[in-house]
């Protein structure tokens, strides 16, 4: 009890001291003060009342204090979730409960102090002497002392990284979440907390404490979270969990024994024993040994598993209705299912187990098999209509088991089709449309362009990374079975390090347990660090990390060194510079020097980017000075980011350079063509044609039609003939105009009868043609053909249809009789359907 009062008094004293400081530094930051002022008013109440409240709880509600409690409750409007806890603890009248209840309320008063601290820290940081301390001085708490509490960390804590603080909370059994809700027990507030979060805290009246308070809380809490209601519940849950783990482990052991017995018997009686069964358990990989043996054991993704299962159960029925009735969940119209999600979370296992559960025989093809178009045609296609021999013989007596004679075809690693598998994706998508055998496809990346042929032909089943809770039981079971100690609180950490990859965690445990039989918070950070998956980041993640202000502060620069930053660039050195350039304006810089404006920082960043561009020219041009790549890394990415890094306002955009660059190339090509055509009558190069002729052309080619309708057409055509312009050139010239000259709206004003009249008129007469060097094809605006797999496939599919579309297009695009233009359609016919689609669209328009 004494200590509690001590806490309180100390807290008050500190609060006062802090406040004073606050006043000193008050004039530097206006915005924060506003927030703090608000809090302060709350705080004053709390500071006055909190001792009373505390006492009341401890003393088990004597009448005199009760009044005050009521007052407190009324005034503070404690969140409902908290009140019952308090009542309960006071009813229980257990000393430990008192401690539990009191300590948080100390923290409550601390909240305000905390807010002041936040302010102080800011001021201190500005004056330049930010204290840098490590978490080494963190107090040791009792085991599981935060059990049953839900904690939210927000903002930048003064002396430790947020991740480290979260780890500490987890280590003591607290649940760490990201967003504040009614269930949150308390919030640890730091510097630069988001205004929304602060608002939420006030709204929900959640307890907010600072880092100091957090330290004290840990130092002061009794083991196993005291006797509070929440802790009780959590403890109960924990016990249940443990019991379940033990039960499962025992079951597993029994199963293993049974199996051994069976094998022994089978051997004695001379029956056939499967080869795999003869392998000793201890010689198997843990991932094999502890692989789920039925669908209930799959960790996480329950709904996805069920979705797949339902689909497969109903498959025969759907087939009977010819895949016309969608069924309850809409899966009835698909002959194939596509499982997708990151590796190591049980996609393949789920597919196999479900098929086995339903009695299907499995035919698997994976990336280690060649899956080109011809081989798939020869192999899998036959299987589509076949029956399983194994299933046939095994189930011949059982009339009811209809599935026994059927296959499920599992295509693993569909996105791994590459190089030698030409046409494989296309043919597989075709199978999906007509297979008479259930087909399960598995891949990691569903959104890749090469997976697009599977859109709308398969049932998409997404698998997500499971969270720590769904893995806990399974991992603990393994730990019990393998006789090593695993602290349940470190599982979060493992899950984080491996990004929810169950297989990786099991591999990790199997390797670590070879030498150390104890995995807890003493060695976990080392383990998780060395096992962290090192994956080349995607451009979006790179730029997100590159532009986050944290890594450029003095503290951050020590943990994330310059070399690490340069390594970020090297993860994708084609895209990183472009992405930085695209996004460097959309940050709110947190690294500005004193007296430096955002604009100045941006100017410096832009300067560096432009220098980087010079360097890139040296690297990519004929000189090929690849030795300058590290310099390019610094100039194009790290240096500009270091100037403007900060919080992102909005989302990360994909680089616009690629699109702009190809547009530029297109216009350049068009301009070239116009210059070839007009050069008999003009005397200019490309640039001056654009600058001096183009705008006049536009007026003289468009205005008569706008003004006089069809009457203006002859004059336009005669002008075009004078300059050897074709009808296509007319379109191009209109496209070139920008700004106030832009023709988009004007063109819409021309009635369609006039438009078609113009085309007819133009086509009905002959026109002079400027003959120029052959080989410069007239690539229209729509032909941006990307050579990729789909094209190859589609071209084969749709050959017969081509002629019709071509004819239609010819009329429609108003091609005239020039030789070169007859050539162009031929070329397009071969190239792709993209053009055709474009043409079709045009027709409609």
């Amino acid at each position: 009890m004494v200590s509690i009062t001590d806490f309180f008094v100390k807290g008050n004293a500190k609060g006062a001291a802090r406040k004073k400081k606050n006043d000193d530094g008050g004039d530097t930051k206006k915005t924060t003060i506003d927030i703090i002022d608000l809090d302060d008013s709350d705080l004053d109440i709390a500071e006055v009342k909190s001792p009373v409240k505390r006492e009341s709880i401890v003393i088990d509600t004597p009448p005199s204090v009760k009044k005050q409690i009521d007052k407190v409750i009324k005034k503070e409007e404690k969140p409902p979730s908290k009140v019952p806890v308090k009542n309960k603890s006071s009813n229980a009248s257990v000393t430990a409960a008192d401690v539990l209840a009191t300590i948080p309320s100390v923290d409550l008063s601390e909240v305000h102090i905390k807010e002041n601290v936040k302010f102080d820290f800011r001021a201190a940081a500005i004056s330049g002497d930010s204290e840098v301390s490590t978490q080494g001085d963190f107090p040791e708490g009792q085991d599981n002392c935060l059990l049953g509490l839900t904690v939210v960390f927000t903002g930048v804590l003064p002396t430790m990284e947020r991740g480290a603080a979260e780890n500490i909370a987890r280590r003591y059994g607290a649940k760490v979440t990201k967003s504040i809700s009614g269930k949150t027990s308390f919030v640890v507030l730091g510097d630069e907390a988001g205004p929304k979060k602060v608002e939420k805290i006030r709204q929900l009246k959640v307890k907010a404490i600072n880092e100091d308070g957090f330290r004290k809380l840990i130092a002061g809490m009794p083991a196993d979270g005291g006797d509070g209601d929440a802790a009780e519940k959590a403890r109960l849950k924990k016990q249940q969990e443990e019991a379940r783990v033990l039960k499962e482990a025992n079951e597993m052991a029994e199963e293993a024994e049974e199996k051994e017995l069976k094998i022994k018997q089978a051997r004695l009686s001379g029956d056939f024993v499967k080869r795999e069964d003869l392998i000793r358990e201890q010689d198997k990989l843990w991932t094999v040994k502890y692989a789920p043996t039925n669908t209930n054991q799959i960790c996480g993704n329950k709904s996805s598993v069920n979705k797949l299962k339902n689909w497969l159960i109903n498959w025969e029925a759907s087939k009977a209705s010819n895949f016309k009735s969608p069924g309850r969940d809409g899966s009835g119209i698909f002959r194939a299912a596509m499982l997708y999600g990151p590796p190591g979370i049980g996609k393949t296992t789920a597919a196999h187990l479900i098929a086995k559960d339903l009695g299907y025989d499995i035919l698997e093809q994976n990336a280690s098999d060649v899956r080109s178009k011809s081989l798939l045609n020869a192999g899998v296609k036959n299987a589509l209509d076949n029956m399983s021999v194994v299933g046939y013989f095994k189930n011949k007596d059982d009339v009811n088991d209809v599935n026994g004679k059927k296959f499920v075809i599992v295509m693993d690693e569909v996105d791994g089709m590459s190089g030698g598998d030409r046409g494989g994706v296309g043919i597989l998508a075709q199978f999906c449309r007509k297979t008479s055998t259930p087909l399960i496809l598995i891949c990691n990346e569903r959104n890749q362009p090469k997976m697009r042929p599977f859109d709308r032909v398969c049932l998409d089943v997404q698998f997500r990374r499971p969270d720590a809770n769904s893995l806990k039981a399974r991992l603990m079971t393994i730990a019990v079975r393998e006789k090593f100690k695993l602290d349940p609180n470190v599982i979060d950490k493992l899950v984080q390090a491996t990004r929810g990859d169950i297989r990786q965690i099991i591999n990790l445990l199997s390797t670590i347990s070879k030498t150390s039989k104890n995995i807890d918070h003493t060695n976990i950070s080392e383990i998780s660090k060395s096992w962290e998956k090192n994956i080349a980041l995607k451009p979006f993640d790179i730029v997100h990390q590159m532009l986050s202000g944290r890594i450029y502060s003095d503290l951050g620069a020590n943990t994330f060194t310059l070399n690490d930053k340069i390594a970020l660039y090297f993860d994708d050195f084609d895209f990183t510079p472009l992405m930085v350039q695209e996004n460097y304006l959309s940050t709110r810089p947190s690294v500005l020097k004193p007296n430096e404006s955002h604009l100045e920082a941006v100017a410096q960043a832009a300067d560096a980017i432009s220098l980087g561009d010079l360097v890139e020219r040296n690297i990519r041009s004929s000189e090929q000075l690849w030795g300058l790549l590290p310099l390019h890394a610094v100039l194009s990415s790290v240096l500009p980011s270091s100037k403007v890094a900060g919080q992102f306002a909005g989302r990360v955009n994909f680089t616009g350079w690629l699109g702009q660059n190809s547009k530029r190339n297109k216009y350049y090509r068009l301009l070239q063509e116009l210059q070839y055509h007009t050069r008999l009558s003009t005397s200019s190069n490309k640039i001056s044609l654009r600058l001096e002729y183009m705008s006049t052309f536009k007026h003289r080619l468009l205005d008569p039609i706008l003004k006089d309708g069809s009457d203006g057409i002859p004059s336009v055509i005669s002008l075009m003939d004078d300059y050897y312009l074709t009808k296509e050139d007319w379109d191009y010239i209109m496209e070139f105009m920008v700004g106030p000259e832009s023709t988009d709206l004007l063109l819409k004003k021309i009635p369609s009868t006039v438009k078609s009249g113009f085309t007819r008129k133009y086509n009905s007469t002959t026109h002079p043609v400027a003959i120029y060097r052959a080989g410069v094809s007239t690539t229209g605006s729509t032909t941006t053909v990307k050579p990729d797999f789909e094209d190859v496939v589609d071209a084969d599919d749709s050959v017969p249809a081509t002629d019709d579309t071509e004819d239609g297009k010819d009329d429609d695009l108003k091609k005239d009789k020039l030789i070169k233009q007859k050539k162009a359609p031929v070329k397009r016919k071969a190239s792709s359907t993209a053009t055709k689609k474009g043409a079709a669209k045009k027709k409609k328009a």
Binding site: E276, D283, P342, G419, G420, N507, Y552, L562, N618
Partner: protein, 325 residues
């Protein structure tokens, strides 16, 4: 002399390559784990990653030898970057090897060693995925690579990842002393120091440099080592950059670098490397300095590798140092 010639027949790196796990220097924890695996059998799939010359390939070989003993020749398939490891090889050669029956004691498995796995194409790595799982009862994989992020995530998920760290100077020194003793090499302390310094934790480089120095000069001392290694000494460059005044910097540049005949490109690239990790200065300052060095680098590569450019670089750097101090 004939005796010396004999001893040079084999590169020392090969001659003194450890054959047992216990002889491997450094990374004690990991090696300890490998020893357990060698004893108990049941090797998991694994990825060993780390910088060059720190014993990745050696430890895999040692492990395989200790696990398999005499059957090494038939139960190990080793492929490195010099072999064709395209998707076809993975689908044929590797898969066939995994399917092959091989009589081994219980608890031992066939091992497929894929050295320099980071140079395998993504397609080839994809093709390994199910192979690793389906045949895991008879075959285990060991990958060695420099950058583990070049291994696709699904493979990483299937493997135990062991990260090797740089060897410490003492560890390299210990090994060098053993070799000098065995080879009866004359050396001075500053010679060994120079070897260790230039190797930067790369044992192979240290041994190679030792052998080259012995072959060229017979005595291993500081001067001889730097003659062999022949790049500007990072410490001198650091001294030059951090010198209190511009005059001092230029003096060092002239006397200790330029006049000794180092090329401008070497000086400037070493400066770049040194500045990157110059923790005496704050990061924004370092970035600005790197910018100047880089621009000089570009000029030099354009053909102006003159003393004037280097001096200009130093002058610019010193203004940067002044402006922030």
């Amino acid at each position: 002399m004939s005796k010396a010639a004999l001893s040079l027949e084999l590169p020392w790196v090969e001659k003194y390559r450890p054959h047992l796990l216990k002889d491997i220097v450094g990374n004690e924890d990991t090696i300890e784990r490998l020893k357990h695996i060698a004893k108990d059998g049941n090797m998991p799939h694994m990825i060993i990653s780390g910088l060059p010359g720190i014993g990745k390939t050696t430890s895999i070989h040692c492990l395989a030898h200790e696990l398999l003993g005499d059957s090494y020749s038939q139960a190990v398939l080793e492929l490195n970057a010099s072999d064709d490891r395209g998707i076809d090889v993975v689908r044929n050669q590797i898969k066939h090897f995994a399917q092959k029956k091989c009589h081994l004691p219980t608890g031992k498995h066939k091992i497929i060693i894929l050295d320099e796995a980071d140079s395998m194409t993504a397609g080839a790595q994809q093709a390994l995925r199910r192979t690793m799982e389906i045949y895991s009862n008879t075959t285990r994989f060991a990958f060695a690579c420099n950058q583990s992020n070049k291994i696709i995530e699904p493979l990483q998920s299937r493997c135990a990842i062991l990260r090797y760290t740089k060897l410490s100077d003492e560890q390299v020194l210990k090994r060098l002393l053993e070799i000098t003793k065995a080879e009866d090499v004359k050396y001075t302390n500053d010679g060994l120091e120079a070897l260790i310094f230039t190797a930067e934790g790369d044992m192979r480089q240290a041994i190679n440099n030792l052998q080259s120095t012995v072959a060229g000069h017979s005595l291993v001392n500081g001067d001889n080592v730097f003659k062999i290694v022949d790049s500007p000494h990072p410490l001198i460059v650091k001294k030059m950059i951090l010198a209190p005044t511009l005059d001092d910097s230029l003096l060092i540049l002239r006397k200790e670098l330029w006049d000794k005949g180092y090329s401008a490109v070497d000086i400037v690239t070493t400066s770049f490397r040194v500045t990157k990790t110059l923790y005496e200065l704050k990061e924004p300052q370092r970035l600005d300095m790197i910018k100047e060095i880089g621009i000089t680098h570009m000029r030099i590569l354009e053909g102006v590798g003159t003393y004037l450019q280097l001096a200009a670089m130093m002058a610019k750097l010193s203004t940067h140092k002044l402006s922030t101090n």
